[in-house]
Amino acid sequence: MLGWEYPPHITGGLGTACEGLTMALARGGIDISFVVPALLGGERAPHMTLIDSREGPSRALRKEGSGVSLSSEIAKSHIKTLFGCYARQEELEIGFNELSQRLMDAQVTEIEEAEEVEDEESLTFKKAPHGSRYGGNMMDEVYGFSQRVAQLATKLDFDLIHAHDWMTYPAGVVASRLTGKPLVTHVHSLEYDRSGQTVHPTIHGIERLGIESSGAVIAVSAYTRSVVIDQHPVEGERVFVVHNGVSGKYRRSFRRRTEKKNRGKTVLFLGRITFQKGPDYLVEAASRVIRHIPEVKFIIAGTGDMLPRLVGRVNDLGLQAHFDFPGFLSGSDVERIMRQSDLYVMPSVSEPFGISALEAISCDTPCLISKQSGVGEVLRHALKVDFWDVDRMADLMINALLYPSMRYEMVRNASREAQRLRWGPAAHRTVEVYRSVLG
């Protein structure tokens, strides 16, 4: 299995999902070698063999705890690799040229011919949400990983290659071609979800290459499956839906909560302030809510390229007093703000899954999510709206704020739903996908 990150060193949900899935697969008797670009120390994976692509199997963290732990000094020197998910545009361009020169075959050359990205929004979006701290040449990393995996592939014994998201697809494709073993690509998100219509052609091309070269594709939701089929030339019968499980902390049972102590009501948005997350639709809907519930407050937490425009729009509407922009929040701040809010809104234009909705539920906060969110397939007890339907969004928000009875029922029932989102069934379906490609 090919991954890009592994807990505790994670930037988003990918590493956590890989951990949950591999643990459940291992319980089901699947023997896994999991290759990441680098091990950084502190990883614990006694259920499988965790391999640093630079070191190879000789220094792997072996199954059943016989592995080698890395010094913190090495860990520091390679932190760029691990957190390289969001690279700068210019870095992507360099990487793209190198990639097209060096990597693989004609199919990759097709990517080169794709149109250059011109939309400014898309360009600036490529910046890391944490600023430039985790910069680095993304495409070099992707290419380097593929070369190291190619060497590893000939030394390891396996039946099938399972690659998570585009960063690992070149590695998966190379390994598959070298060994003749089938490739399964796992789509946790697509470039389309991150950038909308102005997708980066290299990344889009890599996604296409990976998906085309796969015996089967796993999508994290039926929604993502439909985007995969829409964006890439792949037969529907090769694309399978496997919903993520969620970790134990999101499956905490419902406590009969006391009503939140806010005087006014609070609505929370939390995520990247980018086009794809739909915060602008929320602002338009909010302006309609405020007319009827004057004491309401909207918290827009996060950073992103759309933030200045969003603040400008709020000012134009004269609604500054109703909005807070606390910036990027993490850890306990996230939990606290979710706990204090009366309603969590996730108005994404395109959301492969959207685990933050379940995080809100675990904080006893009901959710309003867009119908373009994969999590809605497993979370029935939420309010749902088309992201563009701001009148309906406002209607639902007003009712949710007016009636504690509805908030109570949504949280009570949704936490029961979250209880059932375990990794076991996800692993079971993954094994079925494996069987389909192994024949």
Binding site: R288, H381, K384, D395, Y403, S405, M406, E409
Partner: protein, 405 residues
């Protein structure tokens, strides 16, 4: 000589139109005329017309030996008058056969019995009047909405002149006793006819279920199960939604053929006959008093009322609705009163039911909304506007605020 007693429930609610928080309707046009008309015509075509014709055919063929009973809600009758008068005509023909009894209930298929006794009595009287006007019979047997029943409801209904009440033969109420006898209410002078839910649900719910060990059910075998009651009961009460025929169980399942041959199969055992509810209580003595210490209904495994009042949204919506009653009545405005009463129909609250995990499929099938939250939001949007209209018509006089926020 034991009887088979058929009672069929006929009901269609006035479904609400999509109504947003920002909408307002001074004309009180809250109901989705187009959709209600479409559904009325569809159900008429699939169920009411073919089933009424079948019942006429059976009554004719058995020359008075096949008998049935109906309760048709006032809101269903209104929609038949408006959208499918031919259905109403067929019910009138059935009434004239002398083999059909009409049962009383609330005109609006409401839960008024639980909230507003005076309103409940008015709705029951209104239903008696329309039934008598249309079918020439004043009902003497009563069924409450969804067979919702308790000792309190027995006390409420007995003084209205009814001889018997139809209720669910719930296991925990009956204990070791059988539903196949006439009982007395333990608290009021009124008899009880209890549904034999196993045999009723074999037809109403399980008939087309291919996973059921008895599938496919033949009239022959079903009649054999009825005959097994011989010597151990006076009446087998088969109570179900009329929409069982052709709507819940589609025609292609063979439900019509089943019903067509059932009367002959039942009568093959010469001891058995068909009786209407009034005839049952006239022919058989009541064997014991029974207390309904809790609210029962014919719904779900629990046979309770949680499908309508099982969560806080439903409670809030009921409270909001009935808290406005005295204000609405004080105004003596027919249009307001009619809208308020149509907003009491149990279906609106059923659509807010959240207990989807145990028996959710049934609830999902009967709801026009994507979720119970959408159902709640739409109802509250409508009711808030209705309350505003009541206030406006009162000339801005202060109306008691029923709802928090």
């Amino acid at each position: 000589m034991p009887s088979v007693c058929f009672y069929f429930q006929v009901h269609q609610p006035f479904r609400l139109r999509p109504f947003s928080y920002f909408d307002s309707s001074p004309q009180l046009s809250y109901f989705d005329d187009q959709k209600n008309g479409e559904i009325a015509r569809k159900v008429a075509e699939k169920c009411y017309i073919p089933t009424n014709r079948l019942m006429l055919e059976l009554i004719d063929r058995h020359q008075g030996d096949f008998k049935i009973s109906y309760s048709i809600t006032g809101v269903a009758i209104e929609q038949m008058e408006r959208y499918t008068p031919e259905v109403l005509e067929l019910f009138c023909q059935l009434a004239k056969t002398g083999c059909v009894e009409f049962i009383g209930e609330t005109y609006y298929h409401s839960l008024a019995a639980l909230y507003d006794p005076a309103e409940f009595r008015e709705q029951v009287a209104r239903h008696q009047s329309i039934t008598e006007a249309l079918f020439g019979q004043r009902p003497t047997v009563f069924r409450n909405t969804e067979l919702i029943f308790s000792d309190d409801i027995a006390r409420l209904v007995a003084p209205l002149g009814f001889k018997a009440i139809i209720a669910e033969g719930a296991d925990d109420i009956l204990g070791w006793r059988s539903p196949n006898f006439v009982y007395d209410s333990a608290v009021a002078p009124i008899k009880l006819l209890l549904k034999n839910y196993r045999l009723s649900d074999d037809v109403a719910f399980r008939f087309s279920n291919r996973g059921w060990a008895e599938w496919p059910l033949t009239a022959d075998r079903y009649a054999h199960w009825i005959h097994q009651v011989s010597g151990n009961g006076d009446t087998v009460n088969l109570f179900m939604d009329y929409e069982t025929f052709g709507e819940h169980q589609w025609s292609c399942t063979g439900i019509f053929d089943f019903m067509r041959s059932l009367p002959s199969m039942v009568k093959q055992h010469s001891d058995w006959k068909f009786s209407t509810p009034s005839e049952v209580i006239g022919q058989y003595p009541s064997v014991a008093p029974i207390s309904f210490h809790r609210l029962t209904s014919w719904a779900d495994i629990e046979r309770d009322i949680t499908a309508w009042r099982g969560n806080r949204m439903q409670e809030q919506a009921f409270d909001m609705c009935y808290d406005l009653g005295s204000e609405v009545k004080w105004q003596q405005d027919g249009a307001l009163l009619d809208a308020w009463r149509k907003l009491q129909t149990s279906d609106h609250f059923y659509y807010m039911c959240t207990k989807w995990f145990a028996d959710g499929d049934v609830h999902a099938y009967f709801s026009p909304y994507a979720s119970p939250y959408d159902g709640f939001v739409n109802y509250m949007n409508v009711f808030r506007d209705f309350r505003d209209q009541v206030v406006a018509r009162a000339g801005g006089r202060q109306v008691k605020r029923a709802v928090a926020g």
